[in-house]
């Protein structure tokens, strides 16, 4: 973790190291199983909807063919996500905790880097779905004041890592002292 110097007091903007050069940490490799279960669950849900639509005969003539085509497409998409997308998603999901901010990077084709300053964190939660509990993984969510879309969720963390990160963030937050605006 890097310390940030602040020359000249509050008004001076510190020279922050280039984010790409920082030591980003990977999430647990077992997170791929969580993603695969999610993909399978969504695929089964969509298949159920397709079958329900067929059952009430919402299709015109040739409905069987259309249903078979949709199911085949769904199956291909599901296999592609299970085999190609899920492992790559895990490989390119990384997080970086620095002295003043927390960052999450995801995606290979659709790259996103999300950053939250430590002094903007309102509160944090650690959640575990049933699959995550089986695999010993957790999600750490950092809540800010910008609404649900402004929260930051770190998925696929080892439970110990999530607890450690939370404790570390709490310590950093408690060291922050606000002055009136």
């Amino acid at each position: 973790m890097n310390d940030v110097n602040v020359p000249g007091g509050v008004q001076a903007v510190p020279a922050v190291p280039e984010m790409n050069d920082e030591p980003w940490q990977a999430v647990s490799p077992r997170y791929v199983h969580v993603l695969r279960m999610a993909v399978l669950g969504n695929a089964l849900f969509l298949a159920a909807i397709l079958l329900a639509v067929f059952w009430v005969r919402a299709f015109p003539e040739g409905g069987n063919l259309i249903l078979a085509g949709c199911l085949a497409l769904l199956a291909c998409g599901t296999v592609a996500m299970l085999v190609f997308w899920a492992p790559r998603r895990v490989r390119f999901t990384r997080f970086l905790l620095r002295a003043l901010d927390m960052n999450l990077r995801t995606g290979l084709w659709w790259r996103k880097t999300v950053s939250v300053a430590i002094n903007r964190i309102q509160h944090m939660t650690i959640t575990q779905g049933p699959v995550e509990r089986l695999l010993g993984l957790s999600c750490l969510t950092l809540y800010t004041a910008g609404g649900a879309s402004a929260d930051l969720t770190l998925p696929g963390l080892e439970s110990e890592t999530a607890q450690h990160l939370k404790a570390q963030l709490l310590l950093q937050i408690s060291n922050e002292n606000e002055e009136p605006g």
Binding site: V10, P14, L100, W109, R111, T113, G147, A150
Partner: protein
């Protein structure tokens, strides 16, 4: 009902019996929102409708009046050191404790039915993720002013203020120091706001999905419409075999009349909402008082500012006027909380906008444009969607689908115009994005209010070395599109560093 004094600390007080009217209106609003429950009853057949009309509605009315009176009877409030307690509810009792330091805003509203009796509603907005709005209706103006002053003084000094405290009160303007800045809107300016925003048109447009979602209601509406004079008149015209030109002219005149009537209603609504608009600034606090029927007083302390939006629509551009909206609450606030989160200055000239911008410490922006590949991307995506939809429509009408191809040219021109109006500005203190087509909208965000920042590179932007930068504040998201990746990353790092070291309060 004896008007209580703030000095009666620790005692429970009831509000005026006139407040039952306030509770009645609130209950009616809640009932109206539950209109989908009526649909199966109305569609249930003639017998069900009869039962509803002769028994259901009277029973509902009686129940409503009884519940409103009981709600008034069990509603009470108590002020003690630095805290307000409110008890409410009949079957399900609520006890609310609100510390003065958690009160973000204290507004005094005077609906017309309270003004006759010298009463008002004190509306308190609390801080925190729940973002609650609490109202105490039917208390005297003096009492509301004293509580408001006490809250403001407590937030300044941390102590309970006496009733002769020096804090600024909305209801006691006499004897106050001159404001640092003030703005009064004339009646013509407020009417201009009505023309600029056409609120009624928007409200009517919002009603159409409601009607269309209910076939039964639509059938009833159509059957009623068939009986109106207008439709009968149209039938008479057809019978007399009037020329098509005459019918077109008649239709155009009716449309013009409808537009004029809607404009009139919009101006009237603006007068009711913003008549006698008076904005003042004292130190870091802005306050406005406006309204003819219901008088609203809204205040804003500068450090709560999250976002400033300056808009100039197409009509506003013709009238050479601007509107300014200052947001201070988190995104997702609904209903009254969302409305009260915006501090609105409805109409400004260019000169008064410049004066206000100086007061708000907005810099003079030097706009930089957005990458020209913005036009290419949006023309391809939006153009393809438009052309495909048009092609399907043409095919359904029995025409060749390829006739929709010129749609790309139209989309290109529209995207080019939108791109030419896009601008981005950033300095140490502010981020701003300007957009528009005929008019313009400029959103300003203070850098130190940022909550989250995201650098996003979809595949096409990655291929071009570009990125989108998204900034979240408590008022919502601001997007800076199609930036050079290196510039966007540097801006992200600089903004993050400024926020991280900032000791200024974000709320």
């Amino acid at each position: 009902m004896r008007t209580k004094s703030l000095d009666d600390e620790g005692q429970w007080h009831r509000v005026s019996v006139i407040a039952t009217f306030y509770f009645l209106l609130r209950s009616l609003r809640q009932l109206i929102r539950a209109w989908p429950a009526l649909v199966p009853l109305i569609a249930g057949g003639e017998r069900v409708r009869e039962l509803l009309w002769y028994f259901g509605l009277p029973a509902l009315l009686v129940l409503l009046l009884v519940s409103v009176f009981l709600y008034f009877w069990y509603f009470r409030y108590r002020i003690e050191r630095g805290r307000i307690h409110i008890q409410s509810g009949v079957i399900s009792r609520h006890n609310l404790n609100l510390d003065f330091e958690r009160v973000q805003q204290a507004d005094i509203l005077q609906p017309f039915y309270f003004r006759l009796f010298g009463l008002a509603t004190l509306s308190l907005e609390s801080a925190g993720s729940a973002q609650q709005e609490v109202s105490i209706p039917g208390i005297s103006c003096e009492e509301a002013g004293r509580i408001q002053s006490a809250i403001q003084a407590y937030r300044k000094t941390g102590q309970m203020a006496q009733k002769t405290g020096s804090a600024h009160s909305d209801t006691c303007p006499d004897g106050e120091a001159l404001p640092d800045y003030e703005l009064r809107l004339s009646w013509t300016d407020v009417c201009r706001y009505g023309l600029m925003h056409w609120g009624l048109l928007v409200a009517l447009a919002a009603l159409f999905p409601v009607l269309q979602s209910s076939d039964v209601l639509l059938e009833l509406a159509i059957s009623r419409l068939e009986e109106t004079v207008l439709v009968q008149w149209a039938a008479i015209l057809r019978e007399q075999q009037m020329t098509q030109t005459a019918i077109l002219v008649a239709g155009f005149l009716i449309l013009l009349l409808a537009v004029l009537v809607l404009a009139l209603f919009s101006m009237l609504a603006a007068l009711l909402r913003f008549g006698h608009y008076h904005l003042t600034q004292r130190g870091d606090q802005y306050r406005y008082r406006a309204g003819i029927g219901t008088v609203r007083t809204r205040s804003l302390r500068m450090h709560k500012l999250q976002q400033i939006v300056v808009t100039q629509g197409a009509v506003a551009r013709l009238l050479r006027r601007y509107s300014v909206s200052i947001s201070k609450v988190q995104a997702g606030a609904e209903g009254a909380a969302a409305g009260s989160s915006r501090f609105l200055i409805p109409v400004l000239t260019a000169i008064s906008l410049e004066q206000l911008s100086g007061r708000l410490e907005l810099p003079r922006p030097r706009w930089s444009g957005v990458d020209i590949r913005y036009i290419a991307w949006h023309t391809i995506t939006a153009g393809t969607a438009v052309v495909l939809a048009l092609a399907l429509f043409l095919q359904a009408m029995g025409q060749p689908g390829w006739w929709s191809l010129p749609g790309y040219a139209v989309v290109f021109l529209c995207v080019w115009r939108y791109w030419s109006c896009l601008g981005i500005f950033q300095d140490q203190s502010w981020l701003a994005v300007k957009s528009g087509f005929i008019g313009s909208t400029t959103a300003w965000v203070p850098v130190h209010k940022m909550q989250k920042i995201m650098l996003s590179q979809p595949p096409w932007l990655k291929a071009w070395g570009l990125a989108n930068l998204h900034v979240w504040t408590a008022a919502g998201r601001l997007t800076l599109p199609f930036l050079a990746y290196s510039g966007a990353a540097a801006l992200r790092d600089r903004t993050l560093a400024q926020v991280a070291i900032s000791r200024r309060r974000w709320y």
